[in-house]
């Protein structure tokens, strides 16, 4: 086993350490006198024993095996991999933010509460829905909040609805959330234009339907032109209309979900409002809603209170007194550190800046789409729905598969060798061999052109010798990995040799596979 892939546990050597305990300044009572015997750990947890330099080197070396946004182009569709201004890390780290205890009394947390209040206000304005809760921890948590609100809303009106509609283009979290919220997920079809199939919607939008969850622009990167009609159908059925805000980056300052008729919106702050994605979080998924949904919002709400005696003193407080609330979704007040970055972003850009963001995001996507439509590319990777796209677009790898014998997965893996991150692949599901491409507004024209060049080169190479792509990547720290084997005989933690004898057979039947995760 190469030293390079050793885990930190395998680097452990008895007696080494990075930590030194602070002075033990209280009487040295033995632990046995303070804890009942049955409560005491018998053998120490087998944490690694390493020195600080080796600790640093281990994780520094690991880090260098990651592709990352600060290295290059990362057009992962639906993920909005925009640049995260470095200022945001600085302001989030200010001790007044980073070292503030969540139970500090409001009197001594006025800065934090005002910041949250301002973020609530800004998000409400952007969504066109005035009531905001910052609490949900990520997009999917926001979705769940949205459906719990929907449930509370209907129940408050004495209605028991059982089904929630999601388009077949919906992100996986949408149907998963539906089930978790205790509803039956019902799929709505997509029309030839890439929008919601209105007939199908009409048919399914009965009075057992609690909600339609929609992304607009949808996961094909298309703005649903029938949004007014959709809203009408849904509202006529007495259901709520839920906006999956993952694609908000396309329409800020241009069209607002509230104005489109949506009742509830979640924001993926880590997409639209810049958060370094951290290799899979943290994020935050605040929700905004209309008046009729507002009474059910989670507690606590951040509120502004003005001096009683008509004074102009303003103070910010946490309001727990909301009788119809769905309660708490998590501990404390949400991912405050994420709100700080969001605040910094909105404050840097202002209203017109946010509109610029969306305009340039859409411009970049359409430009890249045009670059990928030319001969030498377009015939292999046809666009799934040939319309002006919004901030992203979806190609189909059908042509490449049929004519070159290379699948979308092969193309994606080969891109790794060119130092660019592949798009989201195999999603949305209804597009065969899908490539979902979202360049974002922070990429330069040169980057887009370079990417188009890479795609063309890979396709040309595949026409010569498809095997190169099929066995790609060739220049990464490891080659194509055996995902099937990993799932079949899962090894999900390290164990000392003795406990975990190597399985020499495992490497043998390695059949590389890949998924269109997102």
């Amino acid at each position: 086993m190469s030293a390079d892939t050793l885990t930190i546990f395998e680097r452990s050597r008895e007696g080494r350490r990075a930590f030194t305990a602070p002075a033990d300044d209280v009487p040295q009572v033995p632990i046995e006198e303070l804890l009942p015997a049955g409560a005491i750990r018998e053998r120490p947890a087998e944490l690694p024993e390493v020195s600080e330099p080796e600790l640093v080197r281990h994780y520094t070396t690991l880090s260098s095996k990651n592709f990352h946004l600060d290295k290059g182009f990362y057009p992962l569709g639906s993920c909005t991999m925009k640049h995260n201004p470095k200022l945001h890390e600085r302001v989030a780290a200010l001790p007044g933010h980073a070292r503030l205890h969540p139970l500090q009394d409001p009197e001594h947390a006025q800065g934090a509460l005002e910041l949250m209040h301002r973020v609530q206000g800004a998000l409400g304005e952007i969504a066109g829905l005035p009531h905001v809760s910052l609490q949900p921890s990520a997009g999917s948590h926001g979705e769940l909040a949205g459906l719990l609100l929907t449930r509370a809303y209907h129940e408050d009106r004495g209605e028991q609805r059982t089904r929630v509609l999601t388009p077949d283009t919906a992100h996986g979290t949408n149907p998963a959330t539906v089930t978790m919220a205790g509803y039956e997920a019902v799929k709505v079809g997509t029309d030839s234009d890439g929008g919601v199939d209105l007939d199908d919607l009409r048919e399914k939008a009965g009075d057992d339907v609690a909600c339609l969850m929609l992304t607009n622009p949808n996961t094909l990167g298309l703005f649903d032109r029938n949004i007014e009609e959709i809203a009408e159908i849904v509202h006529d059925a007495g259901a709520t209309l839920y906006y999956d805000g993952a694609n908000l980056n396309a329409v800020m300052g241009i069209a607002r979900p509230g104005d489109m008729g949506f009742d509830i919106v979640h924001f993926n702050l880590h997409k639209t409002f810049t958060q370094p994605h951290g290799g899979g979080g943290p994020g935050a998924g605040p929700i905004a809603c209309s008046d009729r949904i507002a009474p059910f919002l989670p507690v606590p709400q951040v509120v502004e209170r003005r001096g009683d005696n008509g004074s102009s003193d303003v103070r910010y407080d946490l309001d727990f007194e909301r009788p119809k609330t769905i309660g708490k979704l998590r501990g404390f007040q949400g991912n405050f550190g994420v709100f700080v970055r969001t605040y910094a972003y909105i404050r840097s850009l202002g209203g017109d800046g946010l509109k610029d963001v969306s305009q340039v995001a859409v411009l970049n996507a359409n430009y890249l789409k045009a670059l990928l439509a030319v001969e030498g590319i377009g015939e292999y990777l046809p666009i799934a729905f040939d319309r002006t796209c919004m901030h992203e677009f979806v190609l189909s790898g059908r042509g490449a598969k049929e004519r070159l014998g290379v699948k979308t997965l092969d193309l994606a893996k080969r891109m790794l060798d060119h130092g660019v991150h592949p798009p989201t692949v195999y999603f949305p599901l209804l597009v065969d061999e899908a490539l979902m491409i979202e360049p974002t507004e922070t990429e330069t024209k040169e980057r887009l052109e370079h990417f188009a060049g890479v795609v063309r080169e890979i396709l040309a190479e595949a026409a010569e010798d498809p095997e190169v792509a099929r066995s790609a990547p060739h220049t990464t720290p490891v080659g194509r990995l055996d995902e099937a084997g990993a799932a079949k005989r899962p090894v999900v933690r390290w164990r000392p040799e003795a406990e975990n004898p190597g399985d020499p057979e495992r490497a043998k039947d390695a059949t590389a596979s890949g998924t269109g995760a997102m």
């Binding site: 750990r41 994780y59 993920c79 205890h101 139970l103 996986g172 708490k328 501990g331 990995l481």
Partner: protein, 434 residues
């Protein structure tokens, strides 16, 4: 660029947006600012918070003022960790994936349970996730929760349970601030999917976990132990006590206070729940040449593959915070974790003794304890005037402890600071006695 697209203007690109839905005005937000000005604006806001270096804080109640070593900042600020997405392309994500694998190993060691995922959002919602697993596993509808479970966890359970179609039943605490085993026995029935206890519990009490587990599991319910991972360095791991699942809040492992988030939640389980776990799990595998590598595994549990049949809807989790956790644990190391645990334990008992207030939970405590304070308003005000935040007031969450104060101890709270608080306590006690 417009020419290449075949558009005349930026507006053309938005032709699909129906006229009536366009925002015919600018967003009503303050004008944009330069970096320097945004920095100053935020610095001014931050200055209006009293943070944990500006007072001596004994407030805990779920998040604690621990020292975060510099290595954590150094490593977390590396763009390579900070700026990638979830590792969907494992060949260029071996760093992040191996970190997840190591994290899982560390959590498994701490909890005494063989499998762990790579993080969930945070503590209370981790309890809700455990409830969902129990529901999928048992198809039962009742959740039984000790009143010693963090109030936020109980609240989050209730909120989520409304969606899961489950009911939450509470088990009271004894007069000594521990979960009432008899009441637990009475509460658990054939329709109970899971029993929730916390170690140490919200009041700092070291619960008799073995007994609770035995009682709780009698009718086939899963025993879910919420835990602060740091004291698990000296406490017998929940898994060894028979817990099926162990979940909790990871802030204490190298994460900032951040006014409550982001931190991470952890989720560990017995082997038999592996294919029902929520969230990402990294697994070890090989590449085509037989080289060791790591991938996201068992993805058929997840929303992007299984959609409405997924074991959970979680997508973005808390990878960076989990990295802080494993770096912190590696920094502490096998011995350091024990030393830190023992230091906290001793200081906690010392502090309880030194304060001399009536004890709500007189039995063994680690890192936190609850006392009744005569004229608590005055005491808190007095302490704050001295730059000490003396603890969390229990009244809001526990009306039965209206005069209760929950005092948290970390390695940052020195004997001298404890003695200072004890001095104020003595004044109050004497005042009352007088």
């Amino acid at each position: 660029m417009l020419a290449a697209i075949g558009a005349e203007s930026l507006d053309d690109l938005f032709a699909d947006v129906p006229e009536r839905m366009r925002l015919g005005r600018e967003l009503d937000l303050p004008d944009g600012l330069s970096e320097q000005e945004v920095y100053e604006d935020l610095a001014a806001l931050a200055a209006r918070n009293r943070h944990a270096d500006e007072e001596v804080t004994f407030v805990g109640a779920g998040m604690y003022d621990h020292y975060v070593p510099a290595v954590v900042d150094t490593l977390l600020s590396r763009s390579e960790f900070l700026t990638p997405y979830t590792p969907y392309q494992p060949e260029v994500s071996q760093g992040g994936l191996q970190v997840m694998f190591e994290f899982q190993t560390a959590i498994s060691e701490l909890t005494g349970l063989p499998v762990s995922n790579a993080s969930v959002y945070e503590g209370p919602s981790a309890c809700a996730a455990a409830a969902y697993l129990a529901k999928l596993e048992t198809r039962r509808t009742r959740l039984v929760a000790s009143r010693g479970l963090h109030p936020h966890s109980r609240a989050a359970l209730a909120t989520h349970a409304a969606g899961y179609g489950m009911e939450v039943v509470e088990v009271p605490l004894t007069g000594e601030g521990a979960t009432d085993v008899e009441a637990l026995a009475a509460a658990v029935d054939d329709d109970t999917a899971a029993v929730f206890v916390q170690q140490p519990n919200f009041l700092g009490t070291v619960e008799e976990l073995g007994e609770l587990a035995e009682t709780g599991k009698r009718s086939g319910a899963l025993l879910v132990c919420a835990a602060d991972p740091l004291p698990l360095g000296i406490l017998k791991p929940p898994g060894e006590h028979g817990a099926d699942l162990c979940v909790g809040e990871g802030q204490t492992l190298g994460n900032r206070l951040d006014f409550g988030g982001p931190s991470f939640g952890f989720f560990a389980a017995d082997e038999r729940f592996l294919r029902r776990m929520p969230g990402r799990i990294a697994g070890e595998t090989r590449d085509l040449d037989g080289r060791r590598g790591f991938v996201l595994t068992l993805q058929t549990r997840e929303q992007h593959i299984r959609r409405e049949k997924a074991t959970h809807n979680i997508c973005t989790a808390q990878a960076l915070n989990a990295l802080a956790g494993v770096v912190y644990l590696s920094w502490l190391g096998k011995r350091g974790l024990v030393e830190l645990g023992e230091l906290m334990l001793r200081r906690t008992h010392y502090a309880r003794e030194a304060l001399g207030f009536e004890r709500i939970n007189p039995g063994p405590v680690v890192r936190e304890f609850a006392v009744r304070v005569p004229d608590i308003d005055a005491f808190v005000a007095r302490a704050r005037a001295e730059g000490i935040n003396p603890g969390y007031r229990l009244g809001r969450d526990y009306p039965e402890y209206e005069d209760g104060l929950l005092v948290a101890i970390t390695e940052r709270r020195t004997k001298a600071q404890i003695d200072a608080l004890a001095g104020l306590a003595a004044e109050v006690r004497e005042g009352v006695a007088a």
